[in-house]
């Protein structure tokens, strides 16, 4: 007869069999049996956050920078509700997370017991799936299935709710593998046919104004996907643009790369998307920040869409060729087939796309990311550029919060490798970057990890500095401090007659002293001429650092597609700001 294990032991046995090395969590009454068991499992390290949201974002940062699922352990009631923001964030950005939550004992469920909440009810719309475990003999099957669901197909978060009595009860343990009855979201079920590949290749050959539009799906598919993407782009000689989440899949400093597209994307990328005759979407989802007005989106193009999630295809934009596939699989077969018949395509096709490239160069000449620099005050764009120049020689990982600084980071920091850029895109969660940096640093010890932050965002999860100090994680919090919620202020300037309603933060803390009180290092830069030295100092310190970069308070993030304008009419800079129509103001 097999040895019976307690529910808590089964939890750890499952985590061990899933090769989990780190759990991010916070203890509480309903998970105490699991925490009690922690001491017996030396291969698993627990990282104690200061708030369950922080633990969740750390697990996300860990997952995104390592390619492995992040594991989160929280208690019932407020522990679970605090994790909801992180779960929703992971759901929107397709990040594999396994959240284990404690629950009140089964006999108390439904009685409004202390720290009881309907966790599976609350998290149902923000997880791929969740389970309430009512029998300890189901526990190992459910936990292994949870890992499978989180990492299969389009990745995402899952939650397993374990009542306290189940954690004590003894039951059987078994390692279940591949128990999923069907492969979720099409991964591995869809064999790519040669006829699909030939249609794809024909569209490539016919096009004279092509563009690759790539997204987070390339990153999620693993580092091989980025390798194949680079090969395909070089084989075709076509221009490529990327979404916010896709940055790093293709080198940011390559001449074929047009920069990011979308609301704050480059002039050349957005115009190329609008005017192209072939759009090749690989692992992106035609999000509303990309398409703008759907009816006027890229009117003259044939569109190819490769996505692992069938429900992403045709949701926002109708396409001409839809392929449900993992990006790596598709690119591998496509490149193989393409090379068989099209030797030296990039050269022989050069003539056909030469006019298109000329046009793109004209758009490029606008230099849409330019800004008026100053020698008295630090411009936020300049700060990001200097940070890039001073860190590009080493393998640097960047996380961000949400707002202007996030867009400036995306525009001015050039990424050359996948999994180096962690930002909250779908949900747009202020407070994401600091805890995410903790997870990234844990997955990548010895590497430089910088959170490019805004002072408003970073205060939402500032307590996690304490976590960074406890585990000696030398993360760098690079705050572009303009004392405003910058993106809110920008929209109020452009859309609400400069009525800066509640977007200024009075009584900000002194970030240098705050750093010292946490036991880390604070640095402040106030002028452009001291910036380089201070950044170098920050990099050289082997401790967590809060860098208070005092920047221009009134700077706006350009280029921008304003409300009330079609997609190919961007505002390039402050000189071009014009009245936005009343109708435009009601839109988000």
């Amino acid at each position: 007869m097999p040895k019976l294990l307690s529910g808590a032991e089964i939890v750890f046995k499952s985590l061990e069999d899933q090769k989990v090395e780190y759990i991010f969590g916070y203890p509480g009454g309903a998970v105490l049996p699991i925490y009690d068991e922690l001491k017996n499992h030396k291969s698993i390290k627990h990282i104690l956050a200061r708030h369950e949201q922080g633990a969740g974002h750390s697990a996300e940062g860990y997952a995104r920078s390592s390619g492995k699922p992040g594991v989160l352990l929280v208690t019932s009631g407020p522990g679970a509700t605090n994790a909801v923001t992180a779960l929703t964030d992971a759901y929107m950005d397709s990040i594999p997370l396994v959240c284990i939550s404690g629950q009140v004992p089964t006999h108390l469920i439904g009685t409004d017991a202390f720290q009881e909440c309907d966790t599976t009810g609350i998290t149902r719309p923000c997880t791929k799936h969740n389970w309430l475990v009512k029998d300890v003999n189901d526990l190992s099957r459910i936990l292994h299935l949870a890992f499978e669901v989180a990492t299969t197909g389009r990745p995402g978060p899952v939650l397993v709710d374990i009542p306290k009595d189940i954690q004590f009860k003894k039951g059987k343990y078994k390692f279940f593998k591949n128990t999923l009855k069907k492969k979720l979201n099409g991964k591995a079920i869809h064999k790519i046919s040669n006829s699909e590949l030939d249609k794809f290749i024909n569209l490539i050959k016919k096009s004279s104004k092509p563009i690759f539009y790539t997204g987070g799906g390339v990153i999620n598919s693993g580092p091989e996907a980025s390798k194949y993407l680079r090969e395909l782009v070089s084989l075709t000689g076509f221009p490529i643009t990327s979404t916010l989440q896709g940055l790093g899949a293709y080198p940011g400093d390559d001449p074929q790369f047009l920069g990011m597209l979308g609301m704050h994307g480059t002039y050349e990328a957005n115009n190329a998307m609008h005017d192209c005759d072939l759009m090749i979407n690989i692992g992106a989802r035609f999000d509303d920040r990309i398409t703008g007005k759907v009816d006027e989106f890229s009117p003259g193009s044939k569109k190819i869409h490769v996505d692992i999630d069938p429900s992403s295809i045709g949701k926002n934009i109708k396409v001409d060729l839809a392929i449900v596939s993992d990006v790596t699989q598709l690119l591998r077969s496509l490149i193989k087939r393409f090379k068989e018949k099209n030797k030296n395509f990039a050269n022989s096709n050069k003539q056909k796309t030469s006019k298109w490239w000329e046009q793109i160069e004209k758009w490029r000449e606008k230099k849409s990311l330019n800004y008026n620099n100053s020698d008295k005050i630090i411009k936020p764009q300049y700060a990001v550029q200097r940070l890039y120049e001073l860190t590009k020689n080493q393998d640097t990982f960047i996380t961000t919060e949400v707002g202007q600084h996030q867009m400036w980071a995306a525009q001015h920091y050039k990424f050359n490798k996948p999994n180096r850029w962690m930002t909250s895109g779908g949900l747009g969660t202020m407070g994401y970057g600091l805890p995410a940096a903790i997870g990234v640093q844990i997955a990548n010890p010895g590497r430089l990890v910088v959170d490019i932050a805004g002072e408003a965002s970073v205060l939402m999860t500032m307590q996690e500095m304490s976590t960074a100090v406890q585990y000696r994680l030398p993360i760098k919090i690079f705050i572009l401090n303009n004392e405003y919620m910058g993106m809110v202020r920008q929209w109020q300037e452009l859309l609400h007659e400069k009525n800066y309603s509640e977007s200024y933060t009075a009584a900000l803390p002194d970030f240098v002293k705050l750093a010292e009180s946490y036991g880390c290092v604070g640095i402040r830069a106030k002028t452009p001429d001291e910036l380089d030295e201070k950044i170098k100092e920050m990099i050289s310190i082997d401790k967590p650092v809060i860098f208070d970069c005092v920047v221009d308070k009134a700077e706006n993030c350009f280029p921008m597609i304003p409300s009330g304008k079609p997609h190919n009419q961007m505002i390039l800079g402050p000189e071009e700001e014009e009245e936005i129509s009343d109708e435009g103001k009601v839109l988000v």
């Binding site: 009810g121 719309p125 799936h129 309430l132 509303d288 759907v294 009330g564 304008k565 839109l587 988000v588």
Partner: protein, 182 residues
Amino acid sequence: MAKSKSAYSVPGKIGKIERHIIVVWVDNEAGVLARIAGLFSGRGYNIESLAVAEVDKKKHISRITIVTEGTPQVIEQINLQLRKLVPVHKVADFKRTDKDILFRELALFKILANSKKQEKIKKICKKFNPVVLDKSQKSFVIQVTALRAEIDKLTLDLRRLGLISTSRTGAVAMTKGAKIFN
């Protein structure tokens, strides 16, 4: 409000609305109905009616029949989103106007009526397989099976004849002939 011209969050052209019947086979486990209903409400889809019961006691499979309305794009999304749910085994979808599909709804009516009036009511219900389930001096309960519009009409007619309570199911559906949904 003036018609907006924004590049963002402007509703596109709205396609023609169609009524569809969607049949979903699911594991009969706790919360499964909430998952299905939550998907519909969370994404703004309609549910006109919903009927559910376990159809396979051994495998614990329930069959859910949902009547919904939407543009072809929305209906496609409903299908694809349902298929992503872990407890969903298969999804069948067809138009309400499909000639090869049988639909039925069941209704119970409680009517205050003496025996003379009761005979008259039975006649009105004649086309809809009436079964009298309960009878007293002053009242009776009658069961009919019919299409939604027919039951709607019947309800109106019976209201004039002393209808005091109505209970209806959602539609259930099945293919004609030997073939089954796949």
